[in-house]
């Protein structure tokens, strides 16, 4: 069996700060296999973005180990394509030239990079927008352009850092369903950071729940819903039960973080749970108790 695309073992990261060292990751272990869609959910400030920094090699771990395809990665070129929450499109570049950015950085000539980017645009619903500047696009289209830029790099793994977090609820739902469909066809290897539990259930094969600082994995939840997935699957008894599991893993931390107030019992949904925003559901149903 081939080694996992990403294998993280007991990863630790401590930052120095004016008020002393801050331990952000307190030993995180996870893996992502080829063609898997894996999500990480956790409270704000639980070090999810630090984890991406370590994976991309922009940060050095304090302890633990990262293996990519079973090997210790080089400092540069790790075969990972990162997509930030803000689209980070260059305002002076057209859509096709934004999508081509990663190829240009890799040394592909601008003309060839642009041609390859143009070929990708229909897949991302941007046909006919090659020569458009980002400020002329809607938020959802900008995010799709940013997504195309991530995929255009031709890297093995996509690291999506709350890619839909800045969008309005309707656009976000559209894009989540769009991504679910696209992933079904393309089968990229994806590691997604999300604040949105339903998004994680809709898209993922597996969800890691991180705790507050210093973050460790609180729960690993396999999402065994059928593929291809629709909103109905997510809103089915099985889907809602998965949401409940993720929520209680998060809520458990929230109560332990609040010195055991509440006794760690079944926390009411929608309560403050360490920064996770529990939004009313995609189809307006809210988070419901599964039928017993």
């Amino acid at each position: 069996m081939s080694p996992p695309r990403i294998e993280v073992t007991d990863l630790r990261k401590t930052f120095a700060s004016a008020s002393g060292p801050v331990e952000v990751l307190g030993g995180v272990s996870l893996h992502v296999d080829r063609g898997e869609f894996v999500s990480i959910v956790g409270p704000s400030g639980s070090g999810k973005s630090t984890l991406f920094g370590l994976l991309t090699g922009l940060l050095e771990p304090t302890g633990g180990r990262i293996l990519l395809d079973g090997r210790s990665p080089d400092r540069s070129n790790r075969g990972l394509a990162w997509m930030p929450q803000a689209d980070a499109l260059l305002p002076w570049r057209t859509v096709e030239r934004n999508v081509a950015l990663g190829l240009e950085v890799q040394g592909v000539s601008p003309a060839r990079a642009r041609a390859r980017a143009r070929d990708l645009l229909p897949t991302f619903g941007l046909d006919g927008f090659a020569r458009t500047h980002p400020h002329e696009l809607s938020g959802g289209m900008r995010q799709r352009a940013a997504f195309a830029r991530t995929v255009a790099q031709g890297r093995d793994v996509l690291l999506l850092d709350e890619p839909f977090g800045a969008l309005d609820a309707l656009t976000r739902t559209d894009l989540q369903l769009w991504l679910a469909g696209l992933w079904q066809a393309e089968r990229w290897t994806v590691l997604l950071i999300s604040h949105d539990i339903r998004e994680a259930v809709l898209l993922s094969d597996r969800v890691y729940v991180l705790g507050p600082r210093p973050a460790t994995v609180q729960a690993v939840i396999d999402v065994d819903l059928p593929r291809p997935r629709s909103l109905d699957d997510v809103l089915s008894a099985g889907g809602v039960d998965l949401e409940r599991q993720i929520l209680s893993a998060l809520a458990g931390q929230a109560t332990s973080a609040a010195e055991g107030r509440d006794g760690g019992g079944a926390a009411p949904f929608g309560k403050h749970d360490g920064g996770i925003v529990v939004r009313p559901g995609l189809a307006g149903g809210g988070v419901q108790d599964p039928p017993q």
Binding site: L58, W82, Q85, P91, V105, Q106, H135
Partner: protein, 252 residues
């Protein structure tokens, strides 16, 4: 064209006020010639005036080109190295306090009567807003985009070329528009100090022969030059970043 109306009206209003005050006021025509007299004198001396304008224009263009090159090199150096920024920035700020009226004759003394003192003075007077504009612009580069380029494997040069330099363009042009308005004055100062031709020399000669009308005609030429240079920078900015005005309009 409707945009041109307010400034033209404002300028005309000032000229009319001047005309009225000069004809009816306490000063004689010899001391404060009315605009009509200035225009007349300038027109009748247009040959000499045009000959005097050429060296000034050459001085401005050469000086400003050197200034841009110096500003760019300095900005890259200061952007790359924090120690360099800390060491050099106070010197640059200090350089802006040098009184050029005193410096101009010294420059001529040190560098002779040729173009060198002109170029140096224009550079000294105009590079600073451009350096500050470029540095601010580099620093305004989006952090996520910086991180993104690094995850893509970009080195310093690639990041500079693809992100920092284009991101600096808006504030670069702001600095450019400020400094271009100083350029003509700087050349006039240099010309005042060295008898080698140009509008500065023309003005001095006109003043010495008690011809305020010709002095003012030369001043009008200077003002026109500066306006033309300013308009050129605006046009270049539009050509270089057509997306910018459009994006700004949408933001409002």
């Amino acid at each position: 064209m409707r945009n041109a109306l307010p400034p033209v009206l404002a300028a005309l209003g000032l000229i009319v006020l001047w005309q009225v005050y000069a004809s009816a006021g306490p000063l004689g025509d010899d001391v404060l010639p009315p605009p009509t007299a200035v225009a007349e004198a300038g027109w009748s001396d247009r040959g000499d005036l045009a000959r005097a304008t050429m060296p000034t224009v050459v001085g401005v263009l050469l000086g400003f080109s050197v200034s841009l090159a110096v500003a760019f090199v300095l900005s890259v150096l200061l952007d790359r190295s924090r120690p360099a920024r800390r060491a050099i920035m106070p010197l640059l700020i200090g350089s802006q306090t040098l009184p050029i009226i005193v410096l101009a004759p010294l420059m001529v003394l040190w560098f002779g009567l040729g173009l060198t003192p002109k170029i140096l003075l224009v550079t000294l007077v105009t590079f600073f807003p451009v350096v500050v504009g470029l540095l601010d612009g580099y620093a305004s580069s989006d952090r996520d985009t910086t991180t993104l380029l690094r995850t893509m494997g970009a080195g310093w040069w690639t990041e500079f070329r693809l992100l920092r330099l284009p991101a600096a363009m808006p504030s670069f042009f702001t600095g450019l528009r400020i400094s271009i308005t100083y350029a003509v004055v700087a050349v006039i100062f240099a010309e005042y100090a060295s008898p080698t031709g140009g509008l500065g020399v023309y003005m001095q000669a006109a003043r010495n022969s008690f011809r305020p009308d010709l002095v003012l005609a030369a001043v009008a030429v200077c003002a026109t030059l500066t306006l033309a240079l300013f308009a050129t920078t605006v046009a270049v900015q539009r050509a270089v970043m057509p997306w910018y005005a459009d994006a700004r309009r949408r933001d409002q």
